[in-house]
Symmetry: C2
Subunit: 268 residues, 2 copies
């Protein structure tokens, strides 16, 4: 009962836009005290948003052609990487549309979707990548042109389902908790891939075995599932629960209001 109550509480601020992976600690059955303390001396400062927004230096909305590039960067972690990287992009007129960056071991890894105003990305990619490599010589860098950002399909449709045959795809979040076992990521994602369901966002984490006696595993997946497949996906995930001794929660997310409005705008 407690677990359910906690889940529903959390659900209040969830939507499909960004996955939020509540911590292993908070959801672990063995740890009850891993909660945030809001230090009163540094209580969150909520700026007067209405004022701030109205006086903000709003960038001009132009019809300038944008190219889209996905970058990955991987190198030794050090102070100032994100500052230097974002400063460099800004100096080129590139905009960071979406990113995930993490310290992993002693390295710092970045994946980012960048838009470049006023240039055809197909012409500029090689030059862009060369410039990055000179600016960040210690980093391994990949860059790929990609299709125009699809704000509407933050989660992509299954490839095999044509729009007319399966017009509706419901956004879902799948959370996995339990002991870490070889093959658990493959087992969960196999349930989805075997039904041509693509994933928009995945996070996994493990913790040392020192605390609980065995390594704990945590996974959070966002995807879109055709309504007709939801029950069989759930059934197969129950088999994964049994086999690996993990707890799997499946949430249907509210269709994103932002997406709907973007849709309306784009159809004008």
């Amino acid at each position: 009962m407690q677990a359910v109550a906690r889940t529903l509480l959390r659900s209040v601020q969830r939507t499909a836009l960004i996955p939020r992976v509540p911590s292993l600690v908070a959801r672990s059955p063995v740890v009850q005290s891993g909660v945030l303390r809001c230090n009163p001396s540094i209580a969150p400062r909520i700026a007067p948003i209405a004022r701030a927004f109205s006086s903000a230096p709003v960038p001009p909305q132009s019809d300038e052609k944008r190219g889209y590039v996905v970058l990955s960067m991987l190198g030794k972690d050090k102070v100032g990487i994100v500052r230097d990287f974002s400063h460099y992009l800004t100096s080129l007129g590139a905009n960071v549309e979406e990113s995930r960056m993490a310290r992993l071991g002693g390295e710092f890894a970045v994946i980012v979707l960048v838009s470049l105003r006023g240039m055809e990305a197909s012409e500029g990619l090689a030059k862009f990548k060369t410039g990055l490599e000179s600016a960040f010589p210690d980093f391994q860098i990949h860059a790929r042109l990609t299709e125009e950002r699809d704000a509407d399909a933050d989660v992509s449709a299954a490839e095999s389902s044509s729009e007319s045959a399966e017009p509706e795809l419901l956004p879902f979040e799948i959370q996995v908790d339990g002991p870490d076992s070889p093959g658990i990521v493959a087992a969960v994602t196999k349930v989805l891939a075997s039904r041509n369901i693509t994933l928009s966002n995945v996070e996994t984490q493990t913790t040392s075995a020192a605390f609980s006696g065995y390594p704990l595993f945590r996974m959070d997946v966002e995807c879109r599932i055709p309504p007709s497949l939801v029950s069989e996906v759930e059934r197969d995930l129950e088999s994964v629960e049994e086999k690996f001794g993990v707890a799997i929660s499946v949430f249907e997310l509210e269709e994103d209001v932002l997406d709907d409005d973007v849709d309306g705008e784009e159809k004008r």
Copy 2:
């Protein structure tokens, strides 16, 4: 008042372990209804965790030498990438310790920390990477050896602060919301980098201008800050608020109980 209440509610399930970025929609002042609906017909199924854990195939705890490798993979999105990738790693005896994976534009990007039991990573890295490249020929792949996973320092210490001079670093989360402007990522991270504060986790996102009239920006940063620098960091972030017309919230996170226990174990 509403904004504060929502923030504090969310804080209840926060800890420092994994950043959770509540959605742009939920925190946007112009959208009030972007909440999750938990479909009753597919209510979250909470497995009987105690039973599941006790009967789980707990992997043997061995003192086998592990090597740690950070991988990045970038390629065209298609069904089954995560399944195939994780299956391949499992078949090699590699374990996914931590990962971020996202569809960005039409691509799928992965950054992951992998441990390889029973092999010296220094010997196996080239072979490992070659194997991956044959298995995933359409992907651009980078692989780097990294230091042993530092479960204790999920957020890394500032490089310049010696342990004796500044033994305590407090975990903080910084959230930025507002209109997207060129240079906002650089401005926020500059405040931290100029004080030798490294970042453990960063997520950024923007949304189309169609809904609100201008593009919205969202950023979530996790880092550790020396207590003596907290007030000046806050002061400088206030300047960023003013300059860019964004709202920045600074949370001190509870020191992770899991980390403490891992500490204790490792010191034995």
